[in-house]
């Protein structure tokens, strides 16, 4: 996590912002004429994408707009960028704004890389002289080399993105709007993007970013704004915002799919995370003991069974997993009904951040296992000395 300088003056402010769309079901002239007037009302549907959102964003902050699909976060970004006009309310902005265009939206395939650089820079508001001064830097950053005078239609998609990104970051923006574009390009290029964004933050520029990747947002942002169905549900520190986002996503999941009746012989119904006193906890300190209690439900008596768990980061990367078989424990008869199984971790050496616990249970491990995905969540705190998903005691010597 990069430490941002103290926030500066407000650069983007929204006031009671509302955006409603009319979705029409008739799209041809014929249908419009047939449905003209009062009968046409039935073929229109109103949809509120952003509902009464008021936020202020100070210069020098990096803000992530979070929310499930269709929550209005991209619309909010578009409103901030002046790309769509609000239905009511106001957006105030100042400073030079640049947007990271998706795959170089302003590029014309028939023009050469050089011509496209000038065109794209002009779109972002640079004058010709400013572009000329930056031109060599742009080409060097993009790594395009001699291909700069080739028509961009012959570029690989990677070269295309690199050139587009190079132009965007050289336009000296005060506010940079980023909409889901950092997921493109190869890993090295993504790294380069992240580094450049980190440098932007140090230079006091403001970045407003829409992303589905909670991990990416957590790495980059210091503030998160969570939207649900167009309404602001959370605005604050990024870690809390990601938690709020999880709540929103889980709430949605329950709404979409009610838990089914157990069909397998044995299933995990609940996961609890307990501290050394046996009390449920949500936050743990690095090195503290932790007990993971699985509640399993058996339809009938089973002669033998097995169970296990895994702990993932929000990005889905496994950090710890085990099961009874690995631990060399043969489990005896499981009686019908609800039973529990405790896994005691003597010291949980996880790095700061959020973690999810998945658990599975079956008659024999790996065959017809039932998995309860993300059955519990906890976060780690108190480890300031290192980053990453592992906590370790490190000393620096010369």
């Amino acid at each position: 996590m990069v430490v941002s300088p103290p926030p500066g003056p407000v650069v983007v402010a929204t006031k009671d912002l509302v955006k409603t769309f009319v979705v029409r079901k008739d799209n041809t002239l014929k249908e419009r004429i047939v449905h003209f007037g009062r009968r046409g009302r039935a073929h229109r549907q109103e949809f509120t994408a952003v509902d009464d959102v008021s936020v202020e964003i100070e210069a020098g902050t990096t803000v992530g707009l979070l929310g499930p699909n269709g929550s209005g976060k991209s619309t909010l970004l578009k409103l901030m960028g002046g790309i769509v006009s609000p239905t009511s309310g106001e957006v105030h902005t100042r400073g030079r704004m640049a947007a990271l265009l998706e795959l170089g939206a302003g590029f014309h395939p028939d023009l050469s890389g050089r011509e496209n650089v000038f065109l794209n820079a002009a779109i972002m508001g640079l004058t010709r002289a400013e572009t000329e001064a930056q031109f060599d830097d742009i080409v060097e950053f993009s790594g395009i080399g001699d291909f700069i005078d080739t028509q961009v239609k012959f570029y690989s998609s990677g070269m295309f993105v690199r050139l587009a990104f190079a132009v965007a970051v050289h336009t000296d923006p005060d506010v940079l709007l980023v909409d889901e574009v950092l997921a493109v390009g190869d890993e090295a290029f993504q790294r380069k993007c992240m580094e450049r964004i980190a440098r932007f933050r140090k230079e006091g520029r403001t970045i407003i970013l829409v992303s589905h990747s909670a991990a990416q947002v957590q790495e980059l942002c210091d503030r998160g704004i969570v939207l649900k169905d167009g309404e602001l549900v959370f605005d604050g520190g990024i870690n809390e915002a990601v938690s709020a986002l999880r709540d929103v996503l889980e709430g949605r999941r329950v709404g979409e799919k009610p838990p089914a009746e157990p069909t397998r012989p044995v299933e995990v119904t609940r996961i609890e995370v307990l501290d050394e006193n046996g009390d449920p906890q949500k936050v743990f300190r690095a090195g503290a003991p932790m007990t993971i209690r699985l509640h399993v439900h058996a339809k009938h008596d089973l002669p033998t069974w097995a169970t296990g768990f895994s702990i993932d980061t929000p990005a889905g990367q496994m950090v710890l997993a085990t099961n009874t078989e690995r631990l060399g424990r043969e489990l005896g008869t499981l009686t019908a009904g609800v039973s529990t199984m405790d896994f005691d971790i003597q010291s949980a050496n996880f790095g700061a951040g959020q973690y999810f616990i998945n658990a599975n249970a079956s008659e024999i491990i790996d065959i017809d296992t039932h998995v309860l995905w993300q059955g519990a969540r906890f976060s780690m705190a108190g480890n300031e000395t290192n980053l990453g998903s592992v906590a370790a005691a490190i000393t620096a010597t010369t």
């Binding site: 210069a59 006009s85 265009l101 004058t127 000296d172 909409d179």
Partner: protein
């Protein structure tokens, strides 16, 4: 620039406000000033249109000339010689080409502008630009093609020794100005409507084809009066026909290049008629820009 300098500069800047009426910059001059400030971009967009058009073709810009020349030869031979329209019209070649040149300028402005916002969807959806810049850029490209044709026309007129007196050639300016006002008005309006209803571009195409025969381009204005009388149309029908801004522009443009014309070939008070049409055109332009401003707020969502 370091952080504190940037913050100090930002703190002094006034806010740009976006509300239901669109984006308003905190300075005087409104949209015209805003577009003027982006003239560098406008120039690049015009160049992009032109450069991309004939990229990868061996003849390149020659195609700008080939198309109108072939069109001209076709009308000249078929209408002028086979159908004998040339009889009674001296210097028919120049007469015809002058009309075609100004009309195709209008048609290209309107048609190019109509599709301009949609064809720049990638930009419109991703970044704020004064959206008027897209129809303006395609009108700029049309203007360039028009100027190339004017050079050809001028060369032809010199070759056939058809040019009128230099004073009469000044009709060029009001003619172009009038057609430009109407081209802008319709181009801006239709570019916005086409985003919401794609039928507009096809309707425009058909209407532009028809409109060519609604103005004295391949025939002379003097033929219209008797023809209308023969059809039993009332007197005001000819007035309506004559005061059509395209007709007025064609007639004025012809005055500038076709020296063989006599005062009888033109309606009386041409200058006054053009002035009235021009004032109406400016009003239409203002209204169409209002409509454009209202509609542009949802462009990004409709594409």
């Amino acid at each position: 620039m370091n952080t504190s300098e940037r913050f100090a500069r930002l703190a002094d800047l006034p806010f740009t406000t976006t509300d239901a009426r669109g984006l308003t910059r905190p300075m005087r001059g409104g949209k015209i000033r805003e577009i003027f400030d982006r003239r560098g971009l406008l120039g690049l967009l015009v160049r992009r249109d032109l450069q991309a058009r004939y990229r990868d073709s061996v003849l390149g810009f020659l195609w700008t000339l080939i198309r109108p020349v072939v069109q001209f030869l076709m009308y000249y031979l078929v209408l002028g010689q086979f159908l004998r329209a040339a009889e009674g019209i001296p210097q028919f070649a120049i007469f015809l080409f002058a009309g075609l040149t100004i009309y195709s300028f209008f048609a290209e402005m309107v048609y190019g502008a109509t599709t301009s916002v949609l064809s720049n969807a990638g930009l419109v959806k991703k970044i704020y630009l004064p959206r008027e810049i897209f129809p303006l850029a395609s009108i700029g490209a049309a203007a360039f093609m028009f100027l190339v044709q004017v050079v050809v026309l001028l060369a032809g007129a010199i070759l056939f020794q058809a040019l009128p007196s230099p004073v009469q050639m000044l009709w060029f300016f009001p003619a172009v100005l009038l057609i430009l006002v109407y081209g802008l008005a319709f181009g801006i309006l239709l570019s916005a409507l086409n985003v919401y209803l794609r039928d507009v571009q096809y309707v425009t195409d058909v209407v532009m084809m028809l409109a060519m025969w609604g103005s004295p381009i391949v025939y002379s204005w003097t033929m219209v009066g008797p023809a209308f009388a023969q059809l039993g149309l009332p007197e005001w029908a000819l007035e309506v026909y004559t005061n059509n801004p395209i007709t007025l522009a064609v007639l004025a443009f012809r005055q500038a290049f076709w020296g063989a014309g006599t005062p009888a070939d033109y309606p009386p008070d041409l200058a006054l008629r053009m002035l009235v049409a021009g004032v109406i055109g400016v009003v239409v332009l203002v209204i169409s820009h209002r409509v454009f401003s209202r509609l542009q707020g949802n462009f990004a969502q409709e594409m």
